[in-house]
Every structure is written in C-alpha cells, then in structure tokens.
C-alpha cells in the first residue's frame, strides 16, 4: 500500500493515490496540488550514506572505504513532496541527491544480514540536498552542508516493504526542469540495504521509524532558483521539489 500524509482543510490526513489526485482516509478526493504534502512519516533517527554508489564515489574522486560512510541528519531538516528548498545566493554549487529511503519497522540490535530485511517496514524517496560551498573538513559532511532547513525532502509516499519485489533492482532518476540528469539503479549500491542494517545494528539499536537514506548515484549537478527537481524511483512515485531564493525567505543574502 502507498500512504501519504497531507494537510487539508484544517487537519492532517492519511492519503492514498487516486486517479483524480489523492483520496483522504475520510473519503474526500482532492487534486494533488490542493493539499499540503508532509513527509509520509515523522522520522526518528535519520542516517545518510555518503559515496554508496561506486560511480558516484569515482565522480567525487574517493577511493575504497573501510566501512560505510554514515552521517546523521536532524528531523528539523525534513520537508514533504512539493515543498521548496532555499538556495543561498552566495552558494555556487547546490545539488540534489535522489536516494532510496529505508524505514525501519522493528527494534533492531545485532541483526545479521540474512535476517535484516524482516526489520524493514517500507520505503520512500528522499532528495538529500547538499551545498558544497559550505563543506569544511571537520566531521564531514558538516551540518551546514547537509542539515539545512528543507534539505531532506521525503515522500510523496510511504510504500510497504511487501509491495516492492526486489529492492536491489530499482531504477532511480532525477529530472531538473524535465531533463533527465541523474540515473542509477540500487543494484549498484556498495553496501546494500541488508548489510547497512547489519552494520548499524552492530553498534547501536535501530528503532521503528528510523530512516536510512542509502546514498545517491552519479549525476549530481548544480540547481538554480526556480528549478523544479523531480526524483523518481520505480514503484515509489515521483518526489517534486522547487528551489527557492533568499528573497522568498526575506533574506538579503547567505
């Protein structure tokens, strides 16, 4: 099943796909641009993977890694489908990252790879923005690059794990203003979903609602104010985001 979470007419609703937009749990049917899309779940801990597609790692000139490159993101950075993300005017390189987001469904501690998929509740699309200009070499990637307000776009749907036949065969695509810019497949993950759960749960307990953003393939490029960025993953839908200016946030700069 595909479930979204939308605000409509003064309340927050569970919503489902419908040919004329979305169907709310109470039966109302709304065009998809007349509801406000929230992230499909309220995430717990958010993990993100750096350099987890071999081609992307080569693109950024990284060599082989000893262990998965994991960093953490705060819930405050999360927005939903059709949200806007601000691009500071002093930034030269802000880029999208289309990623498969894995949602944990059960407490997981020292879980072995062979059992790990039983701990997955479902999947979402994530767009994990970064602003390369702000990269500093302490505790990379520092939060000013990766944990900005609006920097973690999730949705539109939460899709039950049972509905995805093979999570290791999903195409990912990012379109900027309609042009295909990024393309990959989860078969190329350096550390796959089950191994990530085994790795993380080897030193910490994962809880229901924790989210693992599994990394992005190559093809990241700068985006500008006004650009429409659409991330697409087989079976999970299309996640739309628009780049906003400082002026829209009543800022002079930076």
């Amino acid at each position: 099943m595909m479930r979204g979470r939308v605000a409509y007419a003064g309340a927050i609703h569970e919503a489902y796909p419908h040919e004329r937009g979305v169907r709310l749990a109470d039966g109302r049917i709304c065009p998809e641009d007349e509801v406000v899309w929230l992230a499909p779940i309220e995430p717990g801990t958010i993990f993100a993977l750096g350099l987890n597609y071999a081609e992307h790692a080569r693109e950024l000139q990284f060599s082989k890694q000893d262990e998965p490159l994991v960093f953490l993101k705060g819930r405050g950075s999360v927005i939903g489908h059709r949200g806007v993300t601000r691009r500071p005017s002093d930034a030269a390189f802000m880029h999208y990252e289309c990623e498969l987001a894995v949602v944990i469904g059960r407490p997981a501690k020292t879980v072995k790879r062979g059992e790990a998929m039983h701990y997955v509740a479902g999947y979402m699309i994530a767009n994990d923005y970064a602003i390369r200009d702000y990269l500093e070499n302490y505790y990379r990637p520092n939060l000013r690059v990766k944990n900005r307000d609006g920097g973690t776009v999730l949705g539109p749907w939460f899709v039950d794990a049972a509905d995805i036949d093979d999570v290791a065969q999903l195409e990912l695509r990012t379109y900027v203003n309609g042009a295909l810019r990024q393309h990959g497949n989860t078969r190329d993950l350096v550390t796959d979903v089950a191994s990530l759960i085994e790795y993380l749960s080897s030193f910490m307990t994962l809880a229901p609602g924790d989210v693992i953003l599994t990394g992005t393939p190559d093809g990241v490029a700068n985006v500008d104010v006004g650009d429409e960025v659409v991330c697409e993953i087989d079976g999970l839908g299309r996640l739309v985001n628009v780049i906003a200016s400082d002026a829209q946030f009543n800022r002079d700069g930076s």
Binding site: G44, V70, K73, Y138, Y139, N147, R148, F203
Partner: protein, 253 residues
C-alpha cells in the same frame, strides 16, 4: 515541550516529568532514584568550541586533511538511541580505548529558534542541563565513523533542566568531571570560542532549533577517559550533578 518553571526532572518510574524547586529536586535525587533524560528533542553536539581543544589542533588545522581552521559551528547529532538519564549504566565496548567523558553544558531550547540574533538568543532558551557526550576516543576529526559517538547510552543527560531564570551567566559556569570520587577534571564555559548566545545565532542561521532540542556548548579539552566499572560524576556550578556508571560489554545483558 514547555519551558520549565524551576527544575524539570523525570524519574525513571514515573510517567510524567515533575517541575520542582531546587531543594525538592535534590531531596528526590538523594534517594538514589534513576531518571529519564529531562528533554525529548534532537540533541546536537558541538565540536571544537573550546579554546583549548582548538589550540591543541594547532598547525594541524592548516595541514591535510583539515586545510583550514573551522569557520561555521561544527556540529553532530546524538541520535535517540544514545539518550540516557541520570543513574544510567553505559556499556564500554570491548577493547582498550575506554570512553571519553565529554561533560558539556546542554542548552535546552524553549521555542522555535531560526535566524536568531545573538542579542536575543537567550530568550529562546528554556534552560540548561548537564550532558555527558560520550565517545570512543578517536584521533581524526575529518570524517569519523558514527560508531564512535552513536552507541546506545552515549548521551547521558540531566538530572534536571534548570530554568533559564535560575542561571545568571551561562558563560561563566564551572564544570567538574570526576571518576570514582577522585580529584576532578575542571573546566569553565568561559573558555568557549562561541559563547551560548553566539552559538545559537550561528547555528540557527542555517537550521531551525525547536522546543526541546538540545545544543551542547562543546566538550572542554582534555576530558578524562572512563573504563568499565567506573562511576562518573559531572557537576556544573552548584547544580545537582549527573551521575552514571560504566560496565564491560561482556557483563551487560
């Protein structure tokens, strides 16, 4: 989370937190009761905000891999599995490294803070707490593994959130960390590079802090390392201290 009127304390065996005067909070704690963390938001740790910690890096800041001194605040997240309260038992992983006891002032946010200027920053603070920001000692600050700081129980907080009105100057607080009752390691929040208000201003320039979130002021340079079987006590000013103990991995359930 609503700002506390006095001392917010959440006893482990009670469903809700209490809000008590200092003396009543101390009397409760004197019974040896364990507590939950007195906060429920996201916890952000701050790195290299102590003049001594930055000075210790010295020329290395200009060499590879760092290449330049830090500019913006350097932060990391202590995820929810790390959160623990006063009286907790923390598992020391196998190996010789032990656990570094990063005693820090915890700044507890009281209301949505975004693009806050330093002059008004303290108005967004609900109060303060003691944070034991624990980590496995590691040399490189370049891109350390999350397993150094994100292990279960590696962020012990409390015992209380002390209302802002009860803290005259958060930038002149003594911190004392002792292991097993021995002579403590001492520091003071005055040696911070960004003081409380400036840190809030610089962080909220790019991300929103919400009520109940905690921002640590940062770990002082040279904090002690605990081994399995130690009893740790962290005191700030004359507040009720934060205490916890450590246990070897093999002895944990």
């Amino acid at each position: 989370m609503y700002p506390p009127a006095d001392h917010r304390i959440h006893l482990f065996n009670e469903p809700l937190a209490r809000d008590l005067p200092a003396r009543a909070a101390r009397a409760l704690l004197a019974q040896g009761l364990a507590c939950r963390p007195p906060v429920d938001g996201t916890v952000y740790g701050t790195l290299l905000n102590d003049a001594g910690a930055l000075a210790a890096l010295g020329e290395a800041m200009h060499a590879s891999p760092y290449k330049a001194p830090p500019k913006a605040p350097i932060l990391y997240i202590k995820p929810r599995n790390t959160h623990a309260g006063h009286g907790a038992t923390v598992v020391v992983p196998d190996g010789d490294a032990g656990i570094e006891i990063g005693g820090s002032l915890g700044i507890v946010i009281g209301r949505t803070a975004v693009r806050v200027c330093a002059e008004q920053a303290l108005e967004f603070v609900a109060g303060y707490t003691i944070v034991a920001d624990l980590s496995i000692p590691h040399q490189s600050l370049y891109r350390p593994s999350v397993r150094f700081r994100a292990r279960d129980g590696f962020c012990v907080m409390g015992p209380a959130v002390i209302a802002r009105r009860l803290v005259d100057d958060p930038d002149a607080l003594d911190i004392a960390i002792d292991l097993n009752g021995k002579a403590p390691f001492r520091a003071n929040t005055a040696t911070s590079i960004r003081h409380v208000a400036q840190l809030i201003a610089d962080v909220t320039d790019f991300m929103t802090l919400s009520a109940g979130d905690v921002l640590t002021l940062g770990v002082p340079y040279g904090v002690p390392v605990a081994r399995a079987g130690d009893t740790v006590r962290i005191a700030i000013d004359d507040w009720a201290p934060l205490c916890f103990s450590t246990i070897a991995q093999g002895d944990a359930q």
